[in-house]
Symmetry: C2
Subunit: 309 residues, 2 copies
């Protein structure tokens, strides 16, 4: 049995995956604040899950995989940087080995989500695919030759910071024009709020991406405008990815992806209109399907792969 752990900014999700890639148990707890606290939480989770595997499933732990929201070295044992956790240069595998005796394999969480999609989700049997996670920001993972593509310097892939134009607000990274300022959930919220402000209007509910999509579906003019701009830029970035990587499948994850056919129909049309070469096989769009536990599954799959080497 394999332990998979997905460290997020606010919560740590973890679970047990059997050797047939089924998640048989999962749980969640707050991440913690200081580095020491978070690391102790991780060690505790491993010890708990080891006991759980023994008591409930009468089996042992074969490996431990951990996804982190940041940059990991090529050796998969050292965290260079996790901005959201305030982590810099942490030999996490060594620390956890001392605390638990297990050797944990580490990777960027977006890579692991893509790996989960490749094994059990929307990128199954796909050699060359891209996962775009549309949430607070835009993240991404790339599968090439059926393997997570980690880049040449292990720096992690930052598709959300591809510059695609000029925007009315700057990205959190300090630059203007990043893809995620057009194509994230935050982006559509900010655009809708700007239109409200420009027209001196208010609405009596919180502006969320879901709310804006619902208003567009109901035919509200401002909602339609927001969705139109959002999908135009989302498609633009997707066509950029097609022009650079020509993947077989591009799969969309994150909250916005819950917009279903309404979003997908518009998107397919706008992508098709903007293809450079028409009439040739080109990337299929679909939604990520490994679910919100993809991070746990991906982490466990990483460990399973690494121990099989």
């Amino acid at each position: 049995m394999i332990i998979g752990i997905d460290v997020g900014g606010t919560g740590i999700k973890s679970g047990l995956m059997d050797m047939d890639n089924n998640l048989v148990f999962d749980q969640s707890r707050p991440t913690g604040t200081t580095q020491e606290e978070i690391v102790n939480n991780l060690a505790e989770i491993i010890t708990e899950l080891e006991a759980k595997a023994k008591n409930d499933f009468n089996t042992t732990i074969e490996g431990v995989g951990i996804g982190v929201p940041g940059v990991v070295n090529k050796g998969l044992d050292h965290v260079f940087k996790c901005p959201n956790l305030g982590w810099n240069d942490i030999p996490l595998t060594d620390i956890l080995k001392e605390k638990t005796s297990y050797t944990a394999y580490l990777d960027n969480d977006a890579n692991l989500a893509a790996l989960a999609e490749h094994y059990v989700g929307s990128l199954k049997d796909v050699d060359t695919g891209v996962l775009l996670t549309l949430g607070t920001g835009v993240g991404g993972g790339i599968i090439i030759d059926g393997r997570p593509y980690r880049g040449g310097n292990g720096l992690g892939l930052e598709i959300g910071h591809m510059i695609v134009g000029e925007n009315f607000y700057d990205c959190a990274c300090g630059k203007n024009g990043c893809y995620e300022t057009f194509a994230s959930a935050t982006a559509i919220i900010k655009h809708y709020e700007k239109m409200l402000k420009d027209e001196n209007k208010t609405i009596d509910v919180e502006v969320t991406a879901r709310e804006v999509f619902d208003r567009a579906k109901a035919g509200e003019e401002m909602g339609l405008k927001a969705v139109d701009r959002y999908t135009t830029y989302l498609a633009l970035g997707i066509v950029n990815i097609i022009n650079i990587l020509d993947p077989e499948v591009i799969t969309l994850g994150g909250g916005v992806a819950a917009s279903g056919d309404f979003l997908m129909n518009i998107l397919n049309k706008k992508v098709k209109e903007n293809l450079l070469v028409k009439g040739f096989p080109t990337a299929t769009l679909n939604y990520a399907s490994a679910g919100n536990k993809a991070g746990i599954i991906g982490a466990a799959l990483l460990a399973k792969e690494e121990i099989a080497k």
Copy 2:
């Protein structure tokens, strides 16, 4: 000995490469206009080079590789489309096999230029690298895991058509904002010409990228403005590539690359300023070094690799 052929819009370059990857003979002739004429030229070149290998080098031909400016299928034997040659759906390998008895391997010319750089040029010993060819347009080839990356649908990579902003003129592809409308030689020429027009000025020589760079080096204000905008966008696209692919090396080919240290110094500064994460290993920039015969060498290397399989 291997025959390498590089089919361009105006000329066909061809040559003989020995089994140690040395180009021992090369030549050039006009491409021709009709499909029949071009194909006959290719067959003639193969027959001539076969005789040349026999008479001058006392050896036989082990393989034939051909680079074309367009889209080739995954089987490397069928040309889907070469816009510049007016080619659509040509079973080129079969046709040439009938005419010459040799089985030619086909690939996109940018992929083959990247392959040449990987074997004998600026991407030697590089696992993950990108070649950007800055000429009339912007082309590109990607090396991943030491192999040319051909995408998931064999559609060819079109980095030059990545949208990066809004421009004052449309791309030949019909869209606005393509990278090549900012970062090609054509781009800097059009910008300089626009500034001349806006200020009702003329110059007594042809506006070329070289001329604009020379004027900038000499301190001319308009030349400096053109180079500043050019390098800002060139750097922007390079940073996009870093954010998406994180290659070890990005190498610049094409005419503009002849601008040497003057361009490279500005570019390194602008790329560094725009990196998302500073202080980590990131792509090195250099100039392509396989020379203007890289297309021939790449084509021969393709054939050498394929026959070794």
